[in-house]
């Protein structure tokens, strides 16, 4: 029996799957793709040059310090960085006393308990603390931000496609809603509480433009002028460092590993040719 029917089993199963596929094709209504404003007006991140891109890329410490300053004075009003500690700023070239001072002067205090009564209270931040959220919890954050939740920034630069360029584009990308868009999609008008930004996936962003004027943050002597563009670039570089603090180590190790492997592979190739020299193959 099996001997006779055997050869037919495979084609029958195959035809079954093909019929099921074909039936799916026939029976599923095909609607024309719905055109949405987000689909047509969403833009890919702008091209930005960063010192850390490429295999030899390194962070620019001056830029990271400026970016940190922007985070400190602007972003941290809403965004925490719960995976980055104050002491990690040593990586940016800050000294221990400087880090201590930064932690101590941080606007948001860290929750703790009163050592005598056990009542919840707050204290000044220490270098071992991570960058705190100004909101007690998610509900408080949403209540203060029109029901939007400011995301934690520790990994933001890796949690978005083309992260640093995306952050830069978003900060510098706020604009009035194009008349063209409203003409084509009258329902897609940005609600009053949101802000139009073509770099945001659904075009309407709850966050108001964080950097509105040149010189909003004053950089130290000898640093570039704090234009909105410069500040956006600096803070996006800083956030890349926050997300990937070991990048330089990785690049350095990678170059060494590659040199080692290329030499090793060449030697292995020589050994291979040498061993096979008498053998036709």
């Amino acid at each position: 029996m099996l001997r006779f029917f055997g050869p037919f089993i495979a084609p029958i199963v195959g035809i079954g799957f093909l019929l099921a596929l074909f039936w799916g094709f026939v029976s599923t209504p095909r609607e024309a793709a719905v055109e949405t404003a987000a689909h047509e007006f969403h833009l890919k991140p702008k091209e930005v040059e960063y010192s850390f891109s490429g295999p030899f890329g390194k962070y620019d410490r001056q830029q990271l310090q400026r970016g940190f300053q922007v985070y400190q004075e602007v972003c941290s009003a809403c965004h925490s960085m719960k995976l980055v500690a104050f002491r990690d700023l040593a990586d940016l070239g800050f000294t221990k006393p400087e880090i201590k001072a930064i932690a101590k002067q941080w606007k948001t205090e860290v929750p703790t308990i009163n050592e005598k009564t056990g009542e919840p209270t707050t204290r000044k931040a220490l270098p071992s603390d991570t960058f705190p959220s100004p909101f007690a919890n998610e509900t408080a954050a949403r209540a203060a931000n029109n029901n939007a939740l400011p995301p934690d920034m520790s990994l933001l630069a890796k949690a978005r496609e083309d992260g640093p360029a995306y952050i830069y584009s978003l900060i510098t990308g706020y604009q009035a809603q194009p008349a063209e868009l409203l003409k084509k999609f009258p329902d897609a008008k940005t609600p009053g509480s949101l802000h139009y930004n073509p770099y945001f996936p659904n075009l309407n962003l709850a966050m108001p433009p964080p950097l509105t004027a040149d010189g909003q943050v004053s950089y130290a002597e000898g640093q570039p002028k704090p234009t909105v563009d410069q500040m956006a670039k600096d803070v996006s570089a800083f956030l890349m460092w926050a997300a990937e603090p070991k990048l330089e180590n990785r690049h350095r190790t990678g170059i060494a590993a590659l040199i080692f492997l290329v030499i090793g592979t060449l030697l292995a190739f020589g050994a291979y040719k040498n061993i096979w020299r008498d053998q036709k193959h």
Partner: protein, 428 residues
Amino acid sequence: MSFPWAEHYAPKNPVMKWLDSRLPLPRLVYNAVGAGYPVPRNLNYFWNFGVLAGVALTIQIITGIVLAMHYAANADVAFNSVESIMRDVNQGWLLRYAHSNGASMFFIVVYIHIFRGLYYGSYKAPREMVWLLGVVIFLLMMATAFMGYVLPWGQMSFWGAQVITGFFSAIPIIGDPIHTWLLGGFAPDNAALNRFFSLHYLLPFVIAGVIVLHIWALHIPGSNNPTGVEVKGPQDTVPFHPYYTAKDGMGLGVFLIVFSLFLFFAPNAMGHPDNYIPANPLSTPAHIVPEWYFLPFYAILKAFTGNFLGIAAKLWGVMAMFGSILLLFFLPWIDRSPVRSANYRPTYRWFFVILVIDVLILGYLGQAEPTATVVLLSQICAGYYFAHFLIILPLVSALEKTLPLPNSITESVLGSDAEAAPVAAHTA
């Protein structure tokens, strides 16, 4: 082992003699991957990938064991424990990136290894068992990789687990209870994370065990070769060591260079950014996509859109997705052509090329937004996948006029005049 002219292990050192008469482990190694295993002399670079897959598994096990020392399988802290590996553990970033990219590299070499088997007919008699065990390894790898991807407990981890375990709920009547039982809850949570971690640690060792069987089964008939002609005599083979150890050593170098390029310079290129967002059961990502190595199967799953014969579309999709892998178990009996190597199968060769392109397109469609065109293309490509194995292959193997085979491996290497003793003509 398998050939009478194989070199015999003859230890000269008294210590080795002593050991050999009590525990012949060196003899086992000598016969498995040493001079005691004669291998066809004409293997090309595609035969490097089996060894590379073994190396990839070893890298995964070593990095994985160290990562497990720092990882915490608890839904509340899993995400942060991975980040602490990335930031605080000495060389933790290297371990973690090596493990996550190592999984991708493992799949790349295994896919090449599988397609090499398909092209050169390595699944055919007398190597069916090698092939069957290989498919078992592939299935175990997929289970291991899926559960490993859940462990960092990011958004894609969570939602990927949600979608993939949801397959079981497609089974009529008993599907939902099975789904709940497997997860230890109604949705992926701490119970699921813990069992995934436990199994993710177990399965690689099961894979290692099946690899032992895979190699054992291979050593009975010996390795296939690009002509697909069986070994006829000593002149057709060279000892595995030093000839193929040297060749594999070089292949390993090239593999590690490619691996390093990803690991050190684009460690997140094959991952998904959403997995750097902690798992949040209340917020569904815009696009749930599995890891790249599952995409062709994911496209097959999504291609079935209609209820047919009273079976729901989802169940068709799940059956087709599992079927697309399970049918590989039957391949040795579906393809009945006596000629192994596609070098001598002019018709099959073209269908093989089309299959490779088809699978690549399915991979692209697996991650594309499901527009009408994408769905239609997935239906065509999924249909072609099944048609290739279940309809075209039986027909081609019955009707194809194959090219004349060389009389022996040596003849194909040296030209016909070098063949001293002609061997009886065989199937063509």
